[in-house]
């Protein structure tokens, strides 16, 4: 069944629902004033995200700065004790008289570890009081001291040490959140979606940690302003650039070198940041004794840049971009390169002390090109996914309400595959039809401090998707046979979907240090990743929801207990979750994704479910800090045409998952850190029997994912030596050992004949990373 309607009718439906936005909140009779401002770092002038603002007096109230360092709070007239705190910074405590609307900006001074004790009386307990659950924030400082593969600091790999977030494979930056698939994570870099967040076939993430200011990940209970993916939101913000001084910092490592330069353009008005990184594994190839190796290439680079202009007190413009590329080439035979490009232009405007607005224009692009230069068979395959994205977000604070509403429209273009070839080639030029679609969403949410111990965050997101012509759109039956084919002209709506996504979370606080929270979230997804491998691959392509493929839908409920103790030094949380997923996608056997015009004929649709418990204990302060995370979970899928319709374990179903992180400041100059991870092996399908076809052994496979790969575990160490303080420039050495006890963890398993006795068959495990030492020299001046 196809719904054909003109585009303007489709928008009329949306216009109607905009009315949802305008709902009233009764104003109170008491005189209410607002306090707002921006919180920055004194040294760099960078805005601080998530800094805490607390007031006590006539009434107790608190808030945190938003992604732009801005806060706004409304309170009855009176005198208040104000405390501004942020981890790793000295607190500001002062008295204020609130008898008019106030705009106050603060700038915090970075603190040494020991001084934390001084501010302990105002240590944050937001994790207890905030109704938001399923959220994790990564401290960029932690990222810098946690050991990783080849000494490359990596946000995505550090995230994988948190409960509920699991790596896709050994050394892989792809990740699964609460039983979701890799493509069900919304990865945003300054609001721009990043489609392939990895370099070198998944071993490095595209995020250069030098350029990153803040990392927040939502595993559940996503606020209504986020949407479009089922499992998680990873919101990464780049540094704005030092507003006060010029600084340069960088590092020279075994695999890559990096350099970042930042500084003011016009003092206190505008600044810039530019950060680059390049690997040079291939540089060694030039010295290879074997001359044939010298023409090969294998490297990646990326570039982050950002600049901002403060037009006046009310208006700021930001422009940021990312450009990264991987290049792999075998001389005269084969070339392969791929990469992401993103650009974000944002205008922040303060309408009044209560209304804050952000308007963003965003561009995202991912593409790859494969070139085969073998004579007579040369060809070039290219594929692109490109987005234009408009976001308008308002934040409005009123009494005990923090209201957020806005609109988001994304235009997607997908070029699934274009094959070009020279005249002499036996390969024919061919193009798989482009696909276009528009995703729009309207949302509204309210974070309401209903009473001193009860907080409620609730919201609604109305998301719609329209698949647009031009092109031939086919419809397939259950067995993948073509039923019909219809031509649609440019801009015509082929299929549209409308989904209402409620988001509710609530917290009840027993006292200052203990609370329970609950949440319900619905998410939908209209972009689906087609991948032939369980690891992230550059040739992965996306398809849009269509007349055959319905939007994926996930409903998640979660309950949690949060408790801080020892004066908020320790934080403990326990969360249980249950997630239902509809319209999940798998392939039929023998699906060939390469240049496939009819890929939807090969898709199977089914359901998923995931549930588990996550325990987390973190020591936040002191010379020794770190955390322990444990997850007990189950992840299953059900497809009518797989496994006789019975539920089976998803590949990423890992029953037990433990991670330990310890960071110890041994002296003024030495910091030692270590991580340990353990998880149950992936659910895998193995051959239970075998037979021969024309003398070749073929395997007879078990039920889907009925077996377990060997357990995964690994211990890493790292040590950082800071240079002597007080010099004009600072430098540090980082030493690391990945996989200290040289555990041979499974990268892949293959089933093959024993080379010495072909009648015997065996399971062969490939382990990629044994013990790997690394050293990096970092500098800053």
């Amino acid at each position: 069944m196809k719904i054909i309607c003109p585009l303007n009718m489709y928008f009329k439906n949306i216009a109607f629902t905009i009315l949802l936005l305008f709902f009233a909140i009764s104003a109170s009779a008491q005189k209410i004033y607002s306090l707002n401002g921006v919180i920055t770092d004194t040294q760099t002038g960078e805005t601080l995200i998530g800094a805490s603002v607390k007031l006590s007096g006539v009434k107790q109230a608190g808030t945190t700065t938003n992604a732009y360092g801005y806060f706004s709070i409304s309170l009855p007239q009176g005198t208040y004790d104000l405390a501004i705190t942020y981890v790793g910074y000295k607190a500001i405590i002062k008295k204020i008289d609130l008898n008019a609307n106030l705009k106050l900006d603060f700038s915090l001074e970075p603190a040494a570890q020991l001084e934390e004790i001084v501010v302990s009386s105002v240590k944050r307990n937001d994790n207890v009081t905030n109704p938001q659950m399923g959220v994790e924030k990564l401290d960029v400082k932690d990222i810098k001291s946690i050991p990783v593969l080849f000494g490359e600091r990596d946000i995505l790999k550090t995230l994988q040490l948190l409960p509920g977030i699991k790596p896709a494979g050994d050394g892989n930056s792809g990740f699964y959140v609460r039983g979701g698939a890799i493509d069900q994570n919304l990865i945003l870099l300054d609001e721009a979606p990043v489609y392939n967040a990895s370099h070198l076939l998944g071993f490095f993430s595209t995020f250069n940690s030098d350029a990153i200011k803040d990392v927040t990940v939502y595993k559940g209970g996503m606020p209504a302003q986020y949407g479009g993916r089922l499992s998680s939101v990873l919101d990464i913000r780049m540094n704005d650039g030092n507003k006060n001084n010029f600084t340069a910092e960088g590092g020279i490592g075994l695999i890559s070198s990096r350099l970042k330069v930042e500084g003011p353009i016009q003092k206190e008005k505008s600044s810039f940041m530019i950060s680059g990184r390049r690997t040079y594994a291939d540089a060694f190839l030039a010295f290879a004794p074997d001359t044939s190796l010298r023409g090969n290439t294998l490297f990646f680079y990326d570039l982050n840049a950002k600049t901002n202009f403060k037009l006046n007190d009310k208006n700021t413009l930001y422009l940021s971009g990312y450009f990264g590329r991987d290049k792999l080439g075998l001389n005269q035979a084969f070339g392969f390169d791929w990469g992401n490009t993103t650009a974000t232009l944002r205008w922040s405007h303060i309408f009044s002390n209560r209304l804050f607005s952000n308007t963003s224009l965003i561009y995202s692009n991912y593409d790859y090109v494969i070139e085969n230069q073998l004579e007579g068979n040369d060809f070039k395959v290219s594929s692109i996914i490109r987005d234009f994205n408009l976001k308008q977000d308002f934040q409005y604070s009123l009494n005990n309400h923090d209201i957020r509403f806005g609109i988001n429209a994304i235009h997607h273009t997908i070029e699934p595959g274009r094959i070009t070839a020279t005249q002499n080639s036996s390969v024919n030029p061919a193009t798989v039809e482009n696909r276009r679609g528009i995703e729009t969403a309207i949302y509204v949410s309210d974070e309401w401090k209903a009473s001193d111990n009860f907080n409620l965050a609730y919201g609604l997101r109305l998301s719609s998707f329209a698949l647009l012509g031009a092109g031939n759109f086919k419809e397939y039956d259950r067995d993948g046979n073509e039923v019909s084919s219809t031509f649609f002209s440019a801009g015509e709506v082929v299929q549209s979907y409308l989904n209402l996504e409620p988001r509710v979370s609530a917290s009840y606080q027993f006292n200052e240090t203990k609370s329970v929270k609950g949440s319900y979230t619905r998410n939908t997804q209209n972009l689906h990743l087609m991948s032939n491998s369980t690891a992230t691959s550059p040739t992965d392509i996306y398809i849009l929801s269509s007349n055959n493929t319905r939007p994926e839908i996930a409903d998640q409920v979660a309950l949690g207990y949060f408790s801080n103790f020892k004066d908020n030094t320790y934080e403990f949380s326990a969360e249980v979750y249950y997630k239902w997923m509809q319209n999940q996608i798998e392939y039929r056997n023998g699906t060939d994704l390469r240049g496939n015009q009819n890929v939807e004929a090969d898709l199977l649709y089914g359901d998923g479910r995931a549930y588990g418990i996550e325990l987390f204990l973190k020591k936040r302060f002191g010379d020794f800090n770190g955390w322990i995370g444990y997850t007990l979970s189950k992840t299953e899928r059900q497809f009518d045409q797989i496994n006789n319709g019975k539920w089976f374990n998803a590949f990423q179903d890992r029953t037990h998952d433990i991670s330990l992180v310890g960071i110890y400041k041994a002296s003024k100059r030495w910091t030692l850190s270590s991580t340990f991870v353990y998880n149950t092996g992936n659910a895998i399908t193995v051959p239970e029997g075998k037979y021969q076809l024309g003398g070749t052994t073929v395997f007879y496979y078990s039920e889907r994912n009925a077996y377990r790969a060997p357990d995964y575990h690994r211990l890493d160490f790292s040590a950082t030596l800071e240079g002597k303080p007080g010099k004009k420039y600072q430098s540090s050495w980082s030493f690391g050992i990945y996989n200290v006890y040289n555990r041979k963890n499974v990268f892949s398993l293959s089933y093959e004949e024993n080379p010495n006795n072909p009648a015997q068959t065996q399971i062969v495990k490939t382990a990629l990373f044994g013990i790997i030492p690394s050293v990096t020299w970092n500098f800053k001046f």
Binding site: T291, S426, S533, G689, L693, S702, L768
Partner: protein, 262 residues
């Protein structure tokens, strides 16, 4: 092919650390399944159908023939061929030649269960010639066999190259189709792994035109092999046989050529 180079590319950087090891995973023993390997060719010969059973993964391979089966192949609107057990598990017809464009219907009854399949004999695409080419990867130059033929433009074609070196059949499947090169003159290299082809070797190629279903069957088997990173869950390839039998029923052409590598 593409995938192999792909793997080669990044494995070269990780060569100093990656390793392979044989491991044990204890598997359950399943009920043996019926395996049918059936084909009708366009050669005038006694057509052969093999019936056997699966054996457990961790046991040494030995063929377990399925005996005393009733095996027939009926041409739609034509005669029925009866296959008789020639050796244990090996069933042969009288001399017969499959006709292009005709549909054949297989029926096997063994141990009280009946399995059926049908397949249409594709048109013949003649093999033009064979040659040997040298390709260099990572400083190593090796010889590979190339097949040359004209792909017909007006139809969808699929091919199976069965290659034997010095009388020993290579135990890999080399299937191809014309999705990317329909209607062109084709020069395809068969990237054989082991043994390496050297001067003086006697090469035999059985050049077969297969049906799209059988192409997909063998493509699925090669894909399950996991070229290009950890594969998605492997499973038994979809077959045209009914009732849960493993194997396939193929109708294909056959053009056998022998030559010696200079």
């Amino acid at each position: 092919m593409r995938n192999n180079i792909f793997i080669l590319g990044f494995v070269s950087i990780l060569a100093f650390t990656s390793c392979e090891e044989v491991i044990e995973i204890e598997t359950n023993e399943q009920e043996p399944a019926v395996v049918i390997e059936a084909a009708i060719t366009d050669r005038t010969e006694r057509q052969t159908i093999n019936l056997s059973q699966t054996v457990p993964f961790n046991l040494s391979f030995q063929t377990v023939p399925l005996r005393n089966a009733t095996v027939t192949v009926t041409e739609t609107g034509g005669p029925t061929l009866t296959f008789t057990e020639d050796q244990p598990g090996v069933y042969r017809s009288t001399t017969f030649r499959g006709s292009y464009g005709k549909t054949y219907n297989l029926r096997v009854t063994v141990n009280g269960n009946t399995y059926t399949a049908s397949s249409k004999m594709p048109n013949k695409v003649p093999l033009d010639s064979l040659s040997v080419s040298e390709v260099t990867f990572f400083g190593e130059t090796r010889k590979y066999v190339k097949v040359h033929y004209q792909d017909p433009a007006q139809e969808t074609n699929a091919y199976n190259y069965v290659i034997s070196i010095n009388g020993k059949k290579i135990n890999s499947f080399y299937v191809d189709n014309d999705r990317f090169n329909n209607g062109n003159y084709i020069n395809n290299t068969i990237f054989t792994d082991d043994p390496e082809i050297v001067s003086g070797d006697e090469i035999m190629i059985d050049f077969q035109n297969i049906t799209p279903e059988i192409y997909r069957y063998f493509f699925a088997i090669t894909q399950i092999g996991g070229n290009g990173g950890p594969p998605v869950a492997p499973s038994n390839p979809d077959t045209n046989l009914s009732n849960g039998a493993l194997g396939y029923f193929s109708t294909h052409t056959s053009d056998k050529r022998v030559f010696r590598v200079r």
